[in-house]
Symmetry: C2
Subunit: 219 residues, 2 copies
DNA sequence: AAATATTTTTAGGTTTGCCTAAAAATTAAT
DNA sequence: ATTAATTTTTAGGCAAACCTAAAAATATTT
């Protein structure tokens, strides 16, 4: 249906739009795909002709519904294969991305869905990234907050419940960003505060108010 | 390392050389790959330049050792993936060939070998075709003879222990060819003869001497 | 041995996807 | 508001694989 290359472009654009709201710029796409801007322009025209994205000269692009569907399906394949490689074939989580980059282009919806079932419908890939279901819906980034994590467990920050500027600024000050690993050291029974160690070894003390507003997944 | 297309050519040529002794002709390759003879000629030159096969104008081709290695590795990948699809993902054996045709081109020796281990080093694919090991060695067509098959089981004829012309002629007379399915109906305790039903429903009575010379695999 | 048929190769094109270099448009800095 | 810097597009090419049609070589008949 769609070529290797087309799927790669759509996936890159999906990720850029996720980050950038305004859409994906030619240069950003070029950088992400390790191609030249001229090649990207050419491809954008083709994808636009195929109604996979909206392109107007010099204006960057956004995916159409169809384009989004194809991109999400590709992400789904990529992440499911990564789960397979790590959970079933015992690859290390650092080795699987490159192989998944190839496997994600295998064309068979039935294969994807059977793989999904075989893996027991995982919601996150080995790097903690969410896996869209057959319908293209991503799992709630997490319904689990840091308060539910027990000492010695490692959590990965996935999102925030409180999205107020104040809270986000506070997190920034703590150097607590999405994707950060948090090892729970201790939970204080007295005030329910937590001592956690960041990936960079820094140790933080988080109040219950803070930890109950952090969506995480266990590593 | 090698492109999708190159692997397909080498695999096709391997199979044709297997059948034809004399090597593979341009036309035969074209037919097998559903391409035009002109395209094949062009590709043969490229593969010859890369030392994957020996090509002399108008003389057909044979694979070099390197070419054989690549072709066998591709067959290995193809058949291992077929086993995966049938045994693990519960595909029907008639659905897997097309998907394996895509999966066989994934480039990662480590993946292939880990898949092999995950599947417990299968010797045959779902269609009974032998799977070469990591070193490129095909299994002995079968070490199991028909005598070891129990009533109600179905066996597929894979080879013969006795290769004498007499025996082969006898098999031909019985219409018993490689690949034939044999359902064991009864085993006579008295003389160890067997009653078997062929795929075409014909029922045969085979002496122990015959059944002990037929290499089979269970279906 | 010639004539005919078949196979294979050559010659010239197409499509996909990528490139460099130059031109045009947009954005940022005086 | 100009000028300068950056981004994006256009123009012109290249390589991998494919194609059709015509020419050359080989194989088969007469
Ligand atoms: Mn990945
Ligand atoms: Mn990819
Ligand atoms: Mn197959
Ligand atoms: Mn193939």
């Amino acid at each position: 249906m769609y070529s290797f290359t087309e799927e790669n472009y759509l996936k890159a654009i999906l990720h850029l739009c996720d980050a950038n709201e305004k859409g994906a710029s030619t240069n950003a796409i070029a950088q992400k795909l390790d191609a030249k801007a001229a090649s990207v322009t050419e491809m954008l025209k083709k994808l636009s002709d195929k109604k996979l994205l909206n392109y107007k000269k010099y204006q960057g692009v956004k995916l159409t519904e169809t384009g989004k569907k194809v991109a999400i399906a590709t992400v789904r394949k990529h992440r499911l294969w990564e789960v397979f490689l790590v959970n079933k074939l015992e690859f290390g989580w650092e080795e699987v991305h490159e192989i998944a980059e190839q496997l994600e282009h295998i064309q068979s919806t039935k294969l994807t869905d059977k793989l999904d079932a075989f893996l027991a419908y995982p919601k996150y890939d080995p790097h903690g990234d969410p896996i869209p279901n057959k319908a293209g819906i991503f799992p709630n980034r997490s319904d689990q907050t840091l308060t539910e994590i027990e000492p010695h467990e490692i959590a990965i920050l996935r999102g925030v419940k409180d999205t107020s500027a104040e809270f986000l600024k506070y997190l920034k000050k703590l150097e607590l960003g999405l994707g950060e690993e948090l090892k729970v050291l201790e939970k204080e029974a007295y005030d329910h505060s937590m001592q956690v160690q960041l990936g960079n070894k820094k140790i933080l003390n988080l109040s219950q108010q803070v930890s109950s507003n952090l969506f995480v997944t266990k590593k």
